[in-house]
C-alpha cells in the first residue's frame, strides 16, 4: 500500500478525498459559470438584505443573537431529557465519586456473570 495514494478502502466501499475535492471544485466552477451568465443589469444591494415579512427591519435589529438563544427549539423539544441531564450534572464532588463507585459496583456484578473466559 502506497501511503501517498489517498484512497481508503472500507469494508463496503472506497473513499478518495482528492476525487471529492475535484468534484467540489468542479461544482464551484459550474456555479460560478452560472452566476456569471446571470443578468448583468441587476440592481445591487437590495436582494441580499434581510427582510422581515417583506418589511425593512427596524433600527437595532442587526444586533447579535446570543449563544444562549441558538438552538432554542432543539432544547425545548428535548426538555424532559435535559431536565434529567441537569439533575445528573450537579457539580458536587461527592456525586462524581459516587457515580464512579456506583459504576464500579455495577460492572463488578456484570463481569462476575459475563466477564469470565
Amino acid at each position: 500500500m502506497n501511503p501517498l495514494v489517498p484512497t481508503i478502502t472500507t469494508p463496503s466501499g472506497v473513499w478518495n478525498p482528492l476525487v471529492w475535492l475535484m468534484v467540489f471544485l468542479l461544482s464551484l466552477i459550474i456555479a460560478l459559470i452560472i452566476y456569471m451568465r446571470g443578468e448583468k443589469t441587476r440592481k445591487k444591494g437590495m436582494q441580499a438584505g434581510v427582510f422581515f415579512s417583506g418589511d425593512r427591519p427596524p433600527e437595532g435589529m442587526d444586533a447579535h443573537i446570543a449563544a444562549h438563544n441558538i438552538g432554542w427549539g432543539f432544547m425545548e423539544a428535548l426538555r424532559p431529557y435535559y431536565r434529567a441531564m441537569r439533575k445528573m450534572h450537579t457539580g458536587i464532588i461527592n456525586d462524581y465519586v459516587g457515580w464512579f463507585l456506583g459504576i464500579l459496583a455495577v460492572m463488578l456484578i456484570i463481569f462476575l456473570f459475563w466477564g469470565g473466559a
Partner: protein
Amino acid sequence: MNPWDLIMNNAPALAIAIPLLGAFVTPLINRAGRKAMLVWVIAVLAFTEFIALLLVYQVNTYGIQVYVFGANPHTLTVPPDSGGIPVRIIFTIDGMSAFTALISATLGLVVGIYSVGSEKFQTAQEKFFALLLLLVVGMMGMALTGDIFNFFVFLEINSLAAAALVSYHLNKGKAVEAAFKYAVVSSIGALMILFAIAILYGEYDALNMAMIAQRMYQTGFSTYDMIAMTLILVTLAMKCGAVPMHYWVPDGYGEAPGGTSAILVVASQASLYGLFRMSFTVFGLSANTSSLGWFMIILGLLSMFIGVTMAFLQHDIKRLMAYHAVSQTGYMLLGVGVGLATLGTAAFNQYGLYAMEGGIFHIINHALYKGLLFLTAGAIIYRVGTSDLNKMGGLAHSMKFTAVFFLIGAFAIAGIPPFNGFASKLMIYESVYQLNPFLAIVAAIVSMLTLASFLKVFHSAFLGPKIYDVKEVPKSMLFAMSILAFFIILFGIFPNIAIHYLVAPAAHALANPLGYITKVLGGGA
C-alpha cells in the same frame, strides 16, 4: 560510542529522561532569564518529539522494542539468575505505544510553542513549563512502560501535573476548585488501580504485563482476576472521560489555562491507551473479550450521545469543547470496542480490525482537531478576557486567522470532507454498522449534532457586529495553531500516511498480544 548510536540504542529511555531532565532544570535556567528558559523548554520538547518519531521508525522497521533500565545489555529482559521472571523496570514499545507517545510529544511541543505567547503575562512561568514537561513525562511513560506498577506511577505523575496545570490561572478560585475535583477523582481512581495491581501481584508474583498475561493464560481466569480487571478498566474509563463518569472533564478542561486544555485531551488519551493495552494485552487472552468489547461499546454510545447533547446546552466556550471531547472519546471507544467484541472470530478480519483502525485513527485526529479548537478558544479568551459565548461576537472582523483555524477545526470535528475527521469517522461508520446498524446510526446523528453546536459557537463568537476592538493573537500562538491545521488537512487529503505508518501498526499490535508476550519473555539480548 558515538552520539547517534547512543540515541538510537537508548531512545525508549530518553523519551522520558529528556523531558524529566528538562523539567528539573527549567527552574534553574529561569534564573538566567525568561528567554533562556523558553528556548530550553522548546528545545527539550522538540528533542522529545524527535525521539518519539525515532521510536515510530524503530517499531515500524525492527518490530517490538524492549528496553530494560539498568541492565547490561539494555535488551536483557529476563536476567539469567532471575528464574525466568522479568524483574527490572522494563519499557516495551509496540505500534500502539509508539503511536501514543508520538501524539503526546507532538501536542506537548505545540502547546509549548503556544504557551510562549499565551502565558506571557503570568507569574511563575518556570513552574508552568516544568509542569508541562512533567505532564509529557507522565503521558510518555504511560504509553511506553511494560510494567503495571510503573504504569500506576506514571498515571499519578500525569494526574498530579495535570491537576496543578488546571489550577495555574487561579480565576478567582474557580480553577482551584476544578483542580481539586480533578485531583480527588484521579486519586481515588489511582487507589483502585493500586488495589488491582496488589491483587494481580499477590496472585502472579509479577508486575510485568507480559508475565501477568502469560501466567493468567496458563492458570485460567479467576475471580480475583475479574475483580482486578474491573477495577482497572472502570478506573481507566473514568480517567479517559467516558460517560457516566465524565463529570470532571468539563470542570478540568474548562478551567485550564489557554492551550493546556489541548494537552489535557492527550493526557486523557493516555488513559485511553491504558484501557486498550490492559483489555487487549493483559486480559485479552484470558477474559471474555466479547463482554469487554460490549462494555466499551456501551460506554462509547453513552459518551457520544450525552456528551454532544450536553455540549449543545453550554454557553462557556471551553466547557462546550470539553463536552465534545467526551463525545469524541465515545467514537474511539466504539471503534476499538467493536474490534474487541469480535476478537478471535471470523468477523474480526472482516470488519473488526477495520473498526479498530478507525477508532485508533480517530485518536490522533481528535488530538489534532480538538487541540486546534482548544487553542483557538484559548486565543479568544486571551484577547477577549471572557469565556462566555453570550458576551462574544464579531471576532472574525479582527481575528481573521483564528477564525479560519477555528473553521478548520470545527469542520474536522464535524466530519466534513476533506478534513481528517471524516476519514476516521467513515472508517468507523462503515465497519461498525456490520456489527449492529444502530451503532452507526447513533454515530452519524452525533456527528450532525456536533456540526450544529460548532455552528452555534462560530456564529456567536465570530459572526455578527464588531463588539470588541482587539488585535490578532501573538505569532507564536498562530504558529502553534497552524502546525495542527496543517496536519489536519494533510491527514484529511492523504489519510493513508497516518494509517500506513501509525494506525495500522498500532491496531495490529493490539490485536496480537502473543507477539508482545513472546518478545518480552523470550529472554532478550
